[in-house]
Subunit: 249 residues, 2 copies
C-alpha cells in the first residue's frame, strides 16, 4: 500500500530534506517516527529536496507499507506527537501504488521573504535586507523568467538532472507589512534555482544589474554570471500540486 | 535626559521582562546592551512586567542618560546588532524628564493565540488546544468583563498592587486561519490576569462553566474559583498606548 504524507517544517535546525551522513534531516526524522508507529523500516521519498535551512509550509512525500494503515488519522496524531515541534504532519492519504510524489507533482510554489529591519519573531523566517530596492525594476526582470525555459544559469553545477528546462507560470515581488516577498510557481525547479534568482534580482533592485544583464544571464546558461544565492532562511516551499482525482485511492 | 525605548521580543527563552536572579530576562539583556553603547550603567523601567515565556510585539520602557544621546537612530542600530535575535528595538524616543513608562501608559492590548493543530512554525507562538470550543458562549461570558471593574478573582495572590480595579475596553474571541485569538484592551492589567481569564473562558467554551458561573466568579473576588491559567506561549503584549503629544520632547 502506498501513502502520501503532507509535511510542513521550519528548516532552521535541519540539514535539508534529504537523508545524509553529516546532520539531521527532515526525511530522517519522518522515517524514524513512522518506523516506530508502523513497526517496520520505512523509506520516505519527497516531492522536493529542500536545502539546509529552507522551510516548507507544504511538502509531500510518499512511502509504502506492507500492512495497510487502518486509521491514517491515528497514525497522523501519533506522528505529530513523536516528531519534533518544528515538523508537523497535517495528513496521510492512501494513493495508487504507482504514484511517485516527485514525478506526479504538476507544480511547486516557492516564496522568498525579505524584511527591511530586525524582527524578534521573524529572525529565522526571513532574510533581513537593508539596501533600498526598486521593486518595479525587479518585477520587470522577473517577467523575463516567463519568456525562457532553460535555466541552467540558475542551477547548481553539480547536479544529476537531465535537462534544465522549467516552465515558470508566475514570478513577481509584492510588498508586505515589513518587507517584500517573491512569489514563483513552476512545473519544476533546479537545485538552488530560487535562491540564485532572488540573489540576482536583488542586484537588479539595487541597480547593480540591468534588465538587459538579466536577460543576457539567462541566455548565457552560465551559473557564473548569476549573483550569489540569497540565504536559506528566507525561502519557503509553500505548495506542491497534484491532480488529486487521478491519484487518490 | 529621559528616553523611551520601544521593544519587541519573542519570550520563549526569557524568564520574563523583569530582572531576577534565576534566569536571563529581557530587561537584563537591554540594560547590558545599552550600557555598552552609552558606556555607563543603565536602569530600564518597563511599562508592563510580562511573565516568563510571554511575548511582546510592542512594549515600552524608559531610561535616563546623563549624557544626551546625539543620534537615537544610531543607538537603535547598535542595540539591534548587540541584542540577541529574539529581541528587537524599533526606536528610541526622547521624552519629558517626568514621564514614567508604566504610569503614563493609557492602555495595554494583549492577544492570546490558540491553534487547533500542531503547526511547525507556531509551536512557540501559540497554545495548541484540541477540544471543541463554543466561541459564542466564550464571547457572551467575555462581554461580562466590560460590566465589572474589580478583577481580584483573576489576580495572582502574591502581588503588591493597591487596587484590583481595571477598566476593560474590549474583550472578545475571533476565528483565525487555524484557530482562535482572544483580544483584550484595558487601562491596566493585574499579574497573571489575561492567562487566568483565558483559562476560565476555555472552560466556558467547553461547557465546563456557564455564563452565570463566570459572573459569580468575578463577583466572588476569589482566585480559587478561576480556572488554571493558560500557558505563557500563547500570550502576546501587542500594544501599549500613550498620549504622545504630551510626553515627547
Amino acid at each position: 500500500m502506498r501513502y502520501f504524507i503532507e509535511v510542513s517544517y521550519k528548516g532552521t535546525h535541519y540539514h535539508g530534506w534529504q537523508r545524509q551522513p553529516n546532520g539531521i534531516t527532515v526525511q530522517e526524522e519522518l522515517e524514524r517516527a513512522l518506523g516506530i508507529l508502523l513497526r517496520a523500516p520505512v523509506e520516505i521519498i519527497g516531492s522536493s529536496r529542500t536545502d539546509a535551512g529552507v522551510h516548507a509550509e507544504q511538502q509531500f512525500a510518499h512511502f509504502d507499507s506492507e500492512i495497510p494503515i487502518a486509521s491514517p488519522e491515528r497514525v497522523t496524531l501519533g506522528l505529530n506527537s513523536l516528531l519534533p515541534k518544528d515538523i508537523a504532519v497535517p495528513q496521510i492519504i492512501p494513493v495508487r501504488a504507482d504514484v511517485h510524489s516527485r514525478f506526479a507533482a504538476t507544480h511547486r510554489c516557492y516564496e522568498y521573504r525579505i524584511i527591511f529591519q530586525k524582527n524578534s519573531f521573524l529572525s529565522e523566517l526571513a532574510h533581513i535586507f537593508r539596501p533600498e530596492l526598486d521593486i518595479q525594476k525587479m518585477n520587470e526582470a522577473a517577467g523575463l523568467l516567463l519568456q525562457y525555459t532553460d535555466f541552467e544559469c540558475f542551477s547548481k553545477i553539480h547536479t544529476d538532472v537531465k535537462t534544465f528546462l522549467c516552465t515558470i507560470e508566475h514570478a513577481y515581488w509584492q510588498k508586505t507589512r515589513n518587507g517584500l516577498t517573491f512569489y514563483i510557481k513552476a512545473n519544476r525547479f533546479l537545485r538552488g534555482m530560487v535562491r540564485a534568482i532572488v540573489g540576482t534580482l536583488l542586484e537588479v533592485g539595487q541597480g547593480k544589474k540591468t534588465y538587459a544583464d538579466f536577460e543576457q544571464l539567462i541566455m548565457s546558461k552560465n551559473r557564473k554570471n548569476a549573483a550569489a544565492q540569497a540565504p536559506a532562511c528566507g525561502l519557503f516551499l509553500v505548495e506542491v500540486g497534484y491532480e488529486w482525482e487521478s491519484i487518490v485511492l
